[in-house]
């Protein structure tokens, strides 16, 4: 009986170890605008088997050799306030992070997952800055209700991939991360 319990425990430990090891890394996440949306993307990534490192205030020297930078754009006055920065400092932060990522040969994915409800003066300010930074753009469709993303993506010659909802970003996200070598 004791041996049986021991075997089960050992199997459980192995399972945990194997599943932990199965999580791919290589992705670093940061919000652009300090909304909590990047945390949702982290949950989507986990379901895809990707352990995305989330750093709300990622700086250029905070990159750790990842392959992909994902920045989730949405302005939050509350989030900026809690982070102790203003919109100009946030834009400057992202410019320097993306420049460093480019120099390191990383790909940058810009995401907007909040739909129409996550659009407004502050968010639009960040969107205008973010889209030209992207190698690809993944947008939950409601967020492009007025064609802003479509127009900016065309102007910056960035491929824009639509998703019907936050939950359904997982399919395109999986395809992008596979193309960029994070997922097999």
């Amino acid at each position: 009986m004791k041996n049986r319990v021991r075997r089960i425990l050992l199997a459980l430990v192995l399972c945990v170890a194997v599943s932990g090891a199965a999580l791919a890394d290589g992705v670093v996440l940061t919000p652009f605008g300090q909304s909590p949306d990047a945390m949702m993307v982290r949950v989507v990534l986990k379901k895809l088997g990707v352990d995305g490192r989330l750093d709300k205030l990622l700086e250029a020297d905070g990159l750790q050799g990842e392959q992909v930078l994902i920045t989730v754009v949405a302005g939050s006055s509350k989030g900026l306030g809690e982070a102790g920065i203003d919109k100009d400092a946030e834009i400057a932060r992202m410019n320097s992070v993306v420049a460093a990522a480019r120099q390191a040969g990383m790909k940058t994915l810009v995401m907007h997952i909040g739909g129409k409800g996550r659009r407004g003066t502050l968010t639009d300010l960040f969107i205008v800055e973010a889209v030209p930074m992207a190698d690809k753009l993944l947008v939950v469709e409601g967020g492009d209700f007025d064609g802003l993303f479509t127009r900016l993506a065309q102007e910056a010659d960035v491929e824009m991939i639509p998703a019907p909802s936050v939950r359904e970003t997982s399919g395109p996200l999986e395809a992008i991360l596979t193309e960029w070598g994070v997922l097999p």
Binding site: D37, G115, K116, G120
Partner: protein, 585 residues
């Protein structure tokens, strides 16, 4: 200054009329002579209109709306929440039902000291105050004509069959995602927020509503639902017990009355925001706002200064009359006291926010006596009281709906779970409010909102009914926390002083006037010159998009002299109006 009629024409009236499935018509703005319901979600408005169509009166319809909102707007109100309603019946009876929540017996400062800071408990079961919505419905049923089983049917149908999520539902779920992911992951869509266009179902809430419909509202306080909540609280460290639920009662009160330029207002009394609205209007009555306009910086300045004065008084003096010996509500809303307060307004200069709490809190006490004249009080130069303790803003959640039936019965009903999604915890399909945060975090000598078991916290809600020459003219109210008072005062001034129609009065950009905000926050459709002059007068101005949900979501009804009802659903919250039959003349 621009005419609001030119900028905010009622363009929606002829658009988007939707004959709904249950013999009613739904639209953002609607006209009818058969009855009208406006609510923050068109599906809830439709539920009320369906009851009117079946022969129910305004109170019946309001109950159906209350229950339906708990399904389609679970973030703003529900069985686990509380509220206040004002009803004016066609036969002249006027009633206010106070179904505000109460602190449970274990919610004491002694237990709070052991548990941590009040602010840190916001999203835990400890923040729950005993819910009043079911008891409020129970009291309202005595004024209705249909059984609860029938009134709950639309809500049960919505919960069981599901409904298509709108932008507001999606945006709020996204905003509160972190709390929900932690406390109620089962509410989410596979761990993610609900997106507009997806179908949301709540079978647990349908089951709960069926139990209440069959067994009556006391099932929530004494039956299986009470046992279930008690069990949840014990297992999760909450303070509410079945004994608290058993002790809870909604209270029937007289509405508080006030007058503004010949209009009669019926509002709920302390500890909610009705008296402050009246006190503000009493001050504004000394200025001829009708000569100004909605975007005149002088009008904005006067209104903001008046609202700051009344917010300071509300914070110092208003509280639960059941558990406080001294609430000078009569003095607060007296015309004489308003004159004393008016003396403090400098026409050319904004008051200094750093002096608000030390130098501008008034004392309405002497005006409790109707004979008191302000001249005598001012001559005595009484020393002012001061506000102690921290300033807290209240969250932007809550929901308001209005109902008028074809006989002229009218109901203004505001309900809330405090923060959006309250504590973020769900029991039996409904969310638990977090009203405990509306008490003082620490005992402050003389404060009317010190935490005390059985006490109702103070909030800003103010459902109201406005009459002219004895006839109901408008039914209104709004969510919006610290913006409720300012938004409602501005709508009333727009209607009465600026003679706007209801839709324009609601749509016109709003601004804040509340002591928790040291600046004027305003929607960005005000002319740049207006903003510049306000800044020159010493105001700090912060602009928001127009329209922004932050400034509330009034759902209101106007009644013309010939009986024509116009319903306006909340423009800032995807709300809707619904009427029985094929409306939309």
């Amino acid at each position: 200054m621009k005419s609001p009629a030119k900028r905010f024409l009622p363009i929606l009236l002829s658009l988007a009329l939707v004959p709904a499935a249950h013999g009613v018509t739904v639209s953002p703005v609607l006209q009818s002579r058969e009855g009208m319901v406006t609510a923050a979600n068109p599906l809830a408005a439709e539920a009320g209109a369906e009851i009117l169509e079946q022969g129910g009166n305004a109170v019946d319809a309001a109950i159906a709306v209350s229950l339906a909102l708990g399904v389609v707007e679970p973030y703003a109100s529900g069985l686990g929440g509380e509220g206040y309603l004002v009803a004016v019946m066609a036969d002249g009876r006027e009633t206010a039902i106070d179904f505000r929540s109460t602190a449970p017996a274990l919610a004491t400062y002694e237990n709070l000291a052991k548990a941590g800071k009040l602010r840190d408990l916001r999203y835990t079961p400890k923040a729950f105050c005993v819910a009043g919505v079911p008891a409020g419905i129970g009291k309202a049923l005595t004024m209705g004509s249909l059984p609860l089983e029938k009134l709950a049917a639309p809500a049960i149908r919505l919960a069981e069959d599901g409904f298509v999520v709108n932008e507001t539902f999606s945006a709020v779920t996204m905003d509160r995602w972190e709390v929900l992911y932690e406390n109620a992951p089962e509410f989410l869509n596979d761990g993610m927020p609900w997106s507009a266009g997806e179908t949301f179902r709540n079978p647990a809430l349908a089951h709960t509503l069926k139990r209440m419909a069959a067994g009556g509202v006391r099932v929530f306080y004494e039956g299986e639902l009470a046992n279930s909540l008690d069990r949840f609280m014990r297992q999760n460290g909450g303070w509410t017990r079945k004994s608290d639920l058993e002790a809870y009662r909604a209270l029937v009160r007289e509405p508080v009355k006030g007058h503004y330029r010949g209009y009669e207002l019926s509002v709920p009394g302390s500890p909610v925001g009705g008296p402050r609205i009246l006190a503000t209007l009493n001050i504004l009555e000394h200025f001829n706002l009708g000569l100004m306009g909605w975007d005149d910086p002088l009008a904005i300045h006067l209104m903001q200064e008046a609202m700051i004065l009344t917010a300071l008084d509300q914070r110092r003096w208003m509280g639960d009359p059941e558990t406080n010996q001294y609430i000078p509500e009569t003095g607060f809303i007296s015309k004489q006291y308003a004159r004393e307060r008016t003396l403090l307004i400098n026409l050319a200069r904004a008051s200094d926010p750093s002096l608000w709490h030390s130098h501008r809190v008034g004392d309405p006490g002497p005006y409790q006596d109707a004979e008191t004249e302000y001249v005598d009080v001012v001559l005595e130069a009484r020393r002012r009281a001061s506000v102690e303790g921290e300033l807290t803003d209240v969250p932007p959640s809550t929901t308001h709906f209005s109902v008028v039936d074809k006989k002229g019965n009218a109901v203004a009903w505001t309900q809330t779970v405090s923060s959006f999604f309250g504590t973020g915890h769900q029991v039996d399909g409904y969310f638990l409010n977090n009203e405990l945060g509306n008490f003082k975090a620490q005992r402050v000598e003389g404060s009317p909102i010190n935490l005390e078991p059985g006490r109702r916290p103070r909030t800003t809600i103010a459902p109201m009914i406005v009459k002219k020459d004895g006839q109901v003219r408008w039914v209104l109210g709004s969510p919006g926390a610290g913006r409720i008072g300012s938004t409602l005062v501005e709508i009333l001034v727009n209607l009465i002083d600026f003679e706007m129609n209801l839709e324009a009065a609601i749509r016109t950009p709003k601004f804040t006037g509340y002591d928790a905000y040291r600046e004027i926050q305003l929607e960005d459709e005000f002319p740049q010159k207006t903003v510049e002059l306000l800044e020159t007068m010493g105001h700090v101005v912060t602009e928001y998009d127009h329209p922004d949900l932050y400034f509330g979501g009034p759902n209101a009804i106007s009644i013309a002299a010939d009986g024509l009802l116009t319903g306006v659903g909340s423009i800032r919250r995807n709300g809707g109006a619904a009427a029985p039959g094929d409306a939309g003349e």
